[in-house]
């Protein structure tokens, strides 16, 4: 009712008469108002119901004063339900200004798939939407909460988030990864250096072995928690495979250095040239130096061999060694005709690096097809662009040498794709007898990598898995050596930067728990437990316009050099791209509102609360839903701009509505003619059979408002005029005198196809005037559809929860249509308003009062008489088979373990008799429905 403008027939303001009532409810000492709550289940009986109520988390506590500061900063916009989608609202909102209670709430629909898929669960929509609103500093804050490498990951991440982006199912996924790079580069360009997070040292020391993404992330997390962290790195530069594996033309060294230094700014100590083992630092050393725990983040440093003939030839090298020499020393021996075996990022990086160190021709040899290549798609394209050739469906079987013992050819078996393997990719199978030879003088093997753990497994505390990786607990990261944890590629096998970071984070969390309360079981229980929110994995928005994804600009000066190839988005590009995000989660979880709230009333981690409430009576007043006129496409709703639903028109008339009370067309014109169509969806066999009882009257009200506000010609298309209420017929007469054109006949169609000159640019309502017996075409500027009232979509679910019956669609069924209109078949449950059937405001109010009276009679009497139809079990006859315990829907039967018989708990028994029907020994009886009584009735009925 709060959505209405005026009410018929008195034309008083809906808000003016409703607001005081709402305020009264909010302030009444005896009314506990539970908004955003829903009934989940009902048990008990008249006078003694127990109702389970779920209070949905509003993410804002009762400290909210309704000041609205949070709304100012919220970057997420959605169509306002209250304004019928004609206005936007933010993700933190209140339904309307007079809402009671006057609190805001945050709409969280679920966990977006981008965030769910991200190995480190970056709050992706948070930073993307802050970028859309130009708040780059806060966007970086969101990223850095979980990720110390925005500039690095913004360049090299394999971004699984984009594969799951729901926008991608509509046109193309949002360029999430490039947006991250944009903000990171923006900060650098602005000359802003990020402040390290404030930490409070806790006096404990942790050693991290290895400075790859896993080790650095673990160090970052632990440092932020106050641990004194020392990283021991084997090489003379930190970064692990981010430095030794990823070439500078993808990840410039200054970018990587900057981000590593920022981690070190958190008080992390870095010791270079310090390998683990006898030549460097040993676990015993660490213990004696007072480290409370150690994290092994050793990475993979050994290339995997193919195991074929000729592999030992000079000219056959491993990609790790090849890339390491190029990336650390800027010096690497490179052939003229280079071949690279493999299809992952290391293979692509090797091929592109070879081009930069003197190769004239580079060929990739891959045993599956391009579609199965694990490398990032954009990198494959870049490699091709630079001239790298690719041989698909071939597998090396022999490295062949020439006269001087140098590699000259790789002999390869031809393959075809067979059935998918466990990774889901189709398995390559050899084609017997078919081979090709690739001429080459250097072959780089980039098949897979292994950790180098030989020195470690000499210690009996450490074991290898069957994949030759380091054995560690998958939940707690613990190794066999107390206080030593392991993570990263050495444990998981080769992975990507972000996956290694996730592994490092897990180890850091485990260490923190190990060094505080020691509840390692927590990791098993909670660490990977999904949140209670649903996944937003089937988001479709019909009618969403297609917007092309922004293309990542390339550096025109890069050529094939060590200069970076890709550039960051321009600011315009970034904002445009970020605006493509659907914010399918409702709230993007950027949390800028938390800082904006003086009262500290925002809690993004709030959970739903389920409580059980004891009541004597229940009044169900859940209202109706408006018929969705899209179901009748012939009226053009949703297709033509100026075809409005009744509620849209109500909002348009309202002074605080989207047009501030002006009745105007979408392009801002005052309409010269308006058609109002009665009975849209109702009194229609194909939709709602019933008469919605209010449409005639509110259509008349609309006609009056249009006349009053605009002076336009008004045409009402009606089937019958139903003006049955007090003052209604008088209102109809008044409208007749005001000059409204009444056309008796249901409108057939609304079209914009003009047949006559005066119809040009208009909407034409076509229908038969049954009084004149002729067809009419009425050109108008605006059409208002008076939609019918239908039961709420969730009415049948609520009916099930409350054991109510439904009829006429899903309107709730009253006990008697005339004599008990607000009672239900269940004593103590009453109905009020439009949930029982379409009705107007006076009738709804009358039912509300009647239901209240019904409930009060019960409460006032204080006692209620129950029909004595409960079941009982004869002790002497019961065989103790316990079948009745399973049959009882209410757990109202107990088993007496001493006497070995079942016993009915009378207070819980509701008298359904199911136990009696299922009792094999005939010990159970139901009062008033005894077997003998029913038998007698059967006999009598059949006489």
């Amino acid at each position: 009712m709060a959505m209405f403008d005026k009410t018929f027939p008195t034309l008083d303001c809906a808000a003016c008469i409703l607001t005081p009532k709402m305020v009264q409810v909010g302030q009444h000492p005896n009314i506990k108002l539970m908004t955003l709550s829903e009934v989940e289940a009902l048990s008990g009986y008249v006078g003694n119901f127990k109702v389970q109520v779920r209070q949905h988390a509003r993410y804002i506590t009762a400290d909210c004063t309704g000041c609205g500061e949070c709304v100012e900063v919220c970057p997420c916009e959605h169509p306002s339900e209250f304004e019928q989608g004609m206005n936007q609202r933010r993700a933190v909102y209140r339904a309307f200004p007079q809402a009671v209670p006057n609190w805001y709430s945050i709409e969280k629909r679920g966990v977006p798939m981008c965030e769910d898929t991200c190995p480190i669960h970056t709050r992706t929509q948070g930073y993307v939407n802050l970028i859309a609103h130009g708040d780059y500093a806060n966007a970086l804050k969101v990223i850095r909460d979980v990720n110390p490498f925005p500039a690095t990951l913004g360049r090299v991440c394999h971004h699984p988030c984009e594969s799951e982006c729901q926008r991608g199912f509509h046109d193309e996924p949002v360029a999430i990864c490039a947006l991250k790079r944009f903000v990171a580069d923006w900060e650098d360009e602005q000359g802003l250096a990020p402040e390290p997070f404030k930490t409070k040292p806790n006096g404990k020391k942790v050693a991290v072995i290895g400075s790859g993404p896993a080790g650095l992330t673990a160090a970052y997390d632990l440092a932020r928690k106050g641990y004194g962290v020392t990283i021991f790195e084997k090489y003379d530069k930190p970064g692990g495979l981010m430095r030794t594996g990823i070439p500078a033309f993808r990840l410039p060294r200054d970018v990587l250095d900057r981000e590593i230094n920022w981690i070190l700014d958190h008080g992390v100590e870095l010791k270079l040239n310090s390998p683990l083992g006898d030549v460097g630092v040993t676990l015993d050393d660490l213990e004696s130096k007072g480290y409370d725990a150690t994290i092994l983040a050793l990475g993979t440093t050994k290339g995997k061999a193919l195991g074929i003939e000729g592999e030992e030839l000079p000219g056959v090298v491993n990609c790790l060694e090849y890339l390491r020499n190029a990336n650390l020393r800027d010096e690497v021996e490179t052939g003229k005709r280079v071949s690279v075996v493999g299809g992952g990022n290391a293979a692509i990086d090797s091929a592109r690096t070879a081009l930069r160190y003197g190769a004239e021709e580079v060929t990739i040899i891959y045993r599956r097809t391009r579609d199965e290549m694990p490398a990032i798609g954009a990198e494959i394209i870049a490699a091709e662009h630079e001239g790298v050739k690719m041989h698909f469906l071939v597998n090396p079987v022999e490295m062949m040498d020439g006269v001087d013992g140098q590699l000259t050819k790789v002999r390869c078996q031809k393959m075809r794709l067979g059935e998918p393997d466990e990774s889901g990719r189709r398995r390559p199978v050899p084609i017997e007898g078919e081979f090709i030879e690739v001429e080459t003088d250097q072959c780089i093997l980039a098949i897979s990598q292994l950790p180098d753990l030989d020195f470690l497994v000499k210690d009996e505390d450490f074991d290898l898995t069957k994949w030759a990786t380091l054995k560690a607990d998958p939940h707690t990261c613990e190794t066999g050596h107390a206080g030593v944890f392991a993570c990263g590629d050495a444990v998981t096998g080769p992975s990507t930067v972000v996956e290694a970071m996730a592994s490092g984070r897990q180890a850091a969390t485990a260490v923190d728990i190990f060094l505080t309360d020691g509840d390692m079981d927590y990791m098993r229980r909670e660490y990977h437990r999904p949140t209670d929110l649903p996944k937003m994995d089937n988001v479709r928005q019909p009618g969403l316009p297609t917007v092309k994804r922004e293309e990542i600009p390339l550096n025109p000066d890069a050529g094939i050099t060590l200069k970076e190839v890709e550039l960051a988005f321009t600011e315009e590009q970034a904002v445009a791209e970020a605006k493509r995000c659907l914010v399918c989660a409702g709230c993007s979880d950027c949390r800028v509102c938390v800082d904006a709230c003086d009262k500290g009333a925002i809690d993004h981690l709030m959970q739903d609360e389920v409580s059980e409430i004891d009541v004597g009576a229940i009044i169900v007043a859940t209202g109706f839903e408006l018929f969705d006129s899209r179901e009748m496409p012939r009226y053009g709703y949703g297709r033509y701009d100026n075809v409005l639903s009744s509620l849209e028109f109500e909002r348009m008339c309202h002074a605080s509505g989207p047009t501030e009370g002006k009745i105007i067309t979408k392009d801002g014109r005052a309409p010269e003619a308006v058609a109002i169509l009665h009975c849209v969806g109702s009194r229609d066999e194909n939709h709602l059979e019933h008469c919605s009882r209010v449409c005639c009257m509110y259509s008349l009200k609309f006609a009056h408002l249009v006349l009053d506000h605009t002076g336009a010609e008004v045409y009402n298309f009606y089937i019958d005029m139903r003006a049955f209420g007090k003052g209604y017929e008088e209102f109809y007469k008044r409208l007749l005198n005001e000059g409204v054109h009444f056309i008796r006949g249901k409108a057939a169609e609304v079209t914009n196809v003009a047949e006559l000159p005066e119809e040009e640019g208009k909407l034409i309502v076509i229908g038969e005037d049954t009084l004149l017996g002729m067809n009419r075409r009425v050109p108008v500027d605006m059409v208002i559809l008076s939609g019918g009232l239908k039961p709420r979509a969730d009415a049948d679910e609520l009916a099930r929860r409350l054991h109510l019956s439904c009829m006429q669609g899903d309107f709730f069924l009253e006990k008697h249509p005339k004599l008990a209109p607000v009672d239900t078949a269940t004593d103590g449950i009453f109905l009020a308003g439009a949930c029982q059937g379409a009705k107007d405001i006076p009738d709804s109010v009358a039912q509300g009062a009647a239901a209240a009276a019904g409930a009060l009679v019960l409460v006032d009497r204080g006692k209620v008489v129950l029909e004595p139809i409960t079941s009982s079990i004869d002790d002497e006859v019961c065989s103790g088979c316990k079948l009745c315990l399973q049959n009882c829907p209410y757990d109202a039967i107990e088993f007496d373990t001493e006497k070995k018989i079942s016993k009915i708990v009378e207070e819980l028994c509701k008298g359904c008799g199911t136990c009696v029907a299922g009792c094999p020994s005939g010990a159970a009886t139901q009062q008033g429905f005894e077997d003998d009584q029913i038998f007698a009735e059967i006999t009598g009925n059949l006489s």
Partner: protein
């Protein structure tokens, strides 16, 4: 049946709602011949005050131990008659209602078939009621709180009252 029961059977015309399709006189006559039936009557409106007075007087005068009323649905008037027999000192649960209106006279048009069905239903009720025992209702307290689900105008109105 122990043979000592004295059952009173009352067949209602419900104006013409029942008597239009069911030969109520024949049903009453048929009932009178059933074992245990002490008296069988038909009357225009069993739910009316004279109708209920009649039952109460018969209970006292004829020492009835059981009552069958063949009329409308028990969901309609079972409680009305229970109160009436209780007023005459009889346990309200040794009474049985037979639905010969909603589930007989209103849904059939063949008078003969409808009358036969009504007879069978009354026969069933008579046999059933002879097996009835006295039952005693239980009173339980009512929780003084009321829950209103929904906060539109109807819900608000209900809550404020």
């Amino acid at each position: 049946m122990n043979g000592t029961e004295r059952i009173g059977v009352y067949v209602c015309h419900c104006g013409t709602n029942i008597s239009h399709t069911v030969d109520v006189e024949a049903v009453a006559k048929y009932a009178a011949g059933l074992p245990g039936v002490a008296l069988a009557k038909e009357y225009k409106y069993m739910c009316s005050e004279p109708g209920q007075d009649m039952i109460q007087e018969d209970i006292k005068e004829h020492d009835l131990t059981r009552v069958v009323v063949a009329s409308c649905s028990p969901l309609m008037h079972e409680v009305t008659v229970r109160v009436a027999v209780w007023g005459a000192g009889m346990n309200p649960y040794v009474f049985q209602m037979s639905n010969i209106r909603e589930q007989c006279s209103w849904v059939h048009s063949d008078k003969r078939a409808a009358t036969e069905k009504a007879m069978r239903l009354v026969h069933g009720a008579v046999m059933r009621v002879s097996q009835h025992r006295e039952l005693f209702e239980k009173e339980v307290p009512v929780h003084p709180d009321v829950m209103v689900v929904g906060a539109g105008i109807a819900g608000i109105e209900a809550a404020l009252r």
